[in-house]
Amino acid sequence: MTNSPDRPADSRDRPIAAAAPDMELLRHYEPVIRFTQGEQFFPMDVVRYVQDCSLWAHYPNGRDELLVGQDDLTIDTLVETRPAAFGTVHYLRFIENLSLTESADMLTRQLRLRGRLRNSFHPGLGRLARGGLLPRVVDALFSLSFLLRGRVPAASAAAAELDYFHMRAKRESFTYYGRVVRQNHWTVLQYWFFYCYNNWRSGFGGVNDHESDWETISVHLYETDGQLVPEWVAYASHDYHGDDLRRRWDDTGQVDLEDGHPVVYAGAGSHASYFRKGEYQAEVDLNLPAWLESAGRIWNTFWTQMLGQQPADPFHIPFVDYARGDGLAIGPGHSRNWSPILIDEGVSWVSRYRGLWGLFARDPISGENAPGGPMYNRDGTPRNAWYDPLGFAGLDKVPPPPEVLRLLENNCADLTDRQARLNTVIPEKAGELQSLGIRLRSMEGNPHLAKQHTAMQRRMNALAEEVRGYRREYSENAATLESLNSRLERQRRGVRDNARTHIRHLAMPSRTTRRRFDRVGEAWAAISLSLLLFAIVGLLFLARRYLGAGLAVITILFVVIESILRRAFVQTVSELTALLAIIACAILVIHFWYWLIVGALVSVALFLLLQRLRELTG
């Protein structure tokens, strides 16, 4: 790709006057969001949401108190200062507690509504069929963990869906909150999207549900000749941080543009933002203890390097984020357009409400608790994306293109100056060192000069170290200068870096096309774990004497069937055999350790003997 360093704007860029008002800037690059068929919640106005909520406080003693009821809560009452003890959590509540009959009623009405709207979701290749048996066991444990953890009640999603539907029916509007930040020669356009509910778990087999959801994307522009030109675009997404969040505007393989507006593919229910449409395998961070993670790393090193296997990741739970982009599209050029609202720290609900924007579900790992606002984390601390939008996208270390040339030239000039200085200093110091050396040699053989000799020796050693340091610095500077000059020359010729070199982990959608055995594989994935447990129960009843052997045979059988259905037979057989070989080796070591030591000693003795004899005979 060749371009001038501050590349001329092409049709994709649509530059805009740097002096344009903030709202005009935001509208100029506002995104198009493409949702997945079956999505029920879309970006909305927080004022309407707050009017439908009540405000609560959760105290450290476990008590919850209603602070403002649903009829009295407005944005103004929300932001009132409410002193509270450490550990108190303020939170909104969109859906009130539902009785059993109300829950049943909500679920029935939800079904009826979906039938009427014909907006249902088809999962395609089931998520359980995308992982192996072990991840499925971990997944089962994760599901069971909801019995112990706090969670959003099951009918809440249905009630939220109905409430939101009625809000939309009254007045349909799709809101984003825009913010313009100018930092380090960059102009950052931040777009914040508020959803009243995240139904990823209950609606799409995902990790969590929670009331309210805040998502963000940002466009990063630089100024050239009084015009702002887009250079990067960053989308917040699960599992990715810093550099991995952003793509270069001209990376056509990664950034979809519609008339110069970036396209966001929103995850169904999760509303996470993706650059490419597709289905993404999400990973759940299980927060394992450090010693277990270290043990896992050591095992993986042994497993991959000594046994030649693929890295093992047993705790990869197969949750899928569906960002198909086949549903509603909001943004320029579509039937549904944005109602933008400009925000900054001066907007009261942005800066003065530090509580949660939905139910505090008392989930210790926070997955089911509602998020904080755009400016704050769940615990009320400032949100990184708000106070450091450049660092959030890993851009804090990246200058805008027009600055690159100047910074490179400055760096080169500084280093050249330093090299010139070293060119003078090194010969001076080296000469001084030689002079000291000759003086020291002259003192040798004169016992009465012993004290002076020792002092001078010390001085000479220090000077020698200094000269070595200068020479090392000169050599390192020369290498750095060479690379700087080479980069400078490339920049002057207009050669740009590869648009993806900064990305460490590239989010790639998984395959969605069906293959042979997929149906069988899905059925197997759904029933295999229960079948395994039934088989173990059968073994306990019918052949308890052979429990050990039976368990081994059943497990191996299940793993082999699994591998055939997932077209991973060769890899699985290889892994199983390697595992059995390790067990066999351990048994052999336990039984024959004495003979192994004897054998090793004899081998070493023979090796040394042969070596020495070879030396002896020349």
Binding site: G253, N498, A499, G548, A584, C585, I587, L588
Partner: protein, 155 residues
């Protein structure tokens, strides 16, 4: 096909030789197991004069002959796999690995039921570890390095 032969002749990893020797050891063990039941029933002295089956049930002689036949079949399959292995065929690697895995599983179950055969267990462990060497997996085309997604040119 031609290239595989070339690889074999030029870059034969030591692990492949170890596996071939392991197969030979197992072949010899299996051959002993072929003749052992027949020797126990004095078949070589008395011949197969007595009946092999009594109705639907096997006689002691029948069971011995069947056991020998199974071991003979196993030995023959082992030899075919050895030939395939020496000719660097992918299927030979897969069959050998599956065979070794099954054999190890049976060996371990036998061990836990106080009937260990350490020689077979050790040979199988050596074969399994040797077959899993990265170099061996490569020449048998089991391991194919994934393409670097990030190296793709951008637009």
């Amino acid at each position: 096909m031609q290239q595989r032969k070339k690889v074999w002749t030029k870059k034969r990893p030591i692990a492949v030789t170890i596996v071939a020797l392991g197969i030979l050891v197992l072949f010899i063990v299996r051959l002993v197991q072929v003749f052992h039941p027949l020797l126990r029933m004095n078949v070589f002295e008395n011949g197969l004069g007595r009946p092999l089956a009594d109705g639907l049930r096997l006689t002691a002689l029948g069971a011995a002959v069947l056991t020998s036949a199974v071991y003979l079949l196993a030995s023959l399959i082992g030899m075919v796999v050895l030939i395939g292995f020496l000719r660097v065929r992918r299927w030979a690697w897969v069959v050998l690995m599956a065979w070794t895995g099954s054999s190890l599983a049976v060996g371990l179950i036998d061990y836990f039921y106080s009937n260990p055969n350490y020689l077979v267990m050790a040979s199988n462990a050596v074969i399994a570890l040797a077959l899993n060497q990265v170099e061996v997996q490569r020449i048998f085309q089991i391991r194919i390095e994934p393409d670097d997604q990030l190296a793709r040119p951008s637009g």
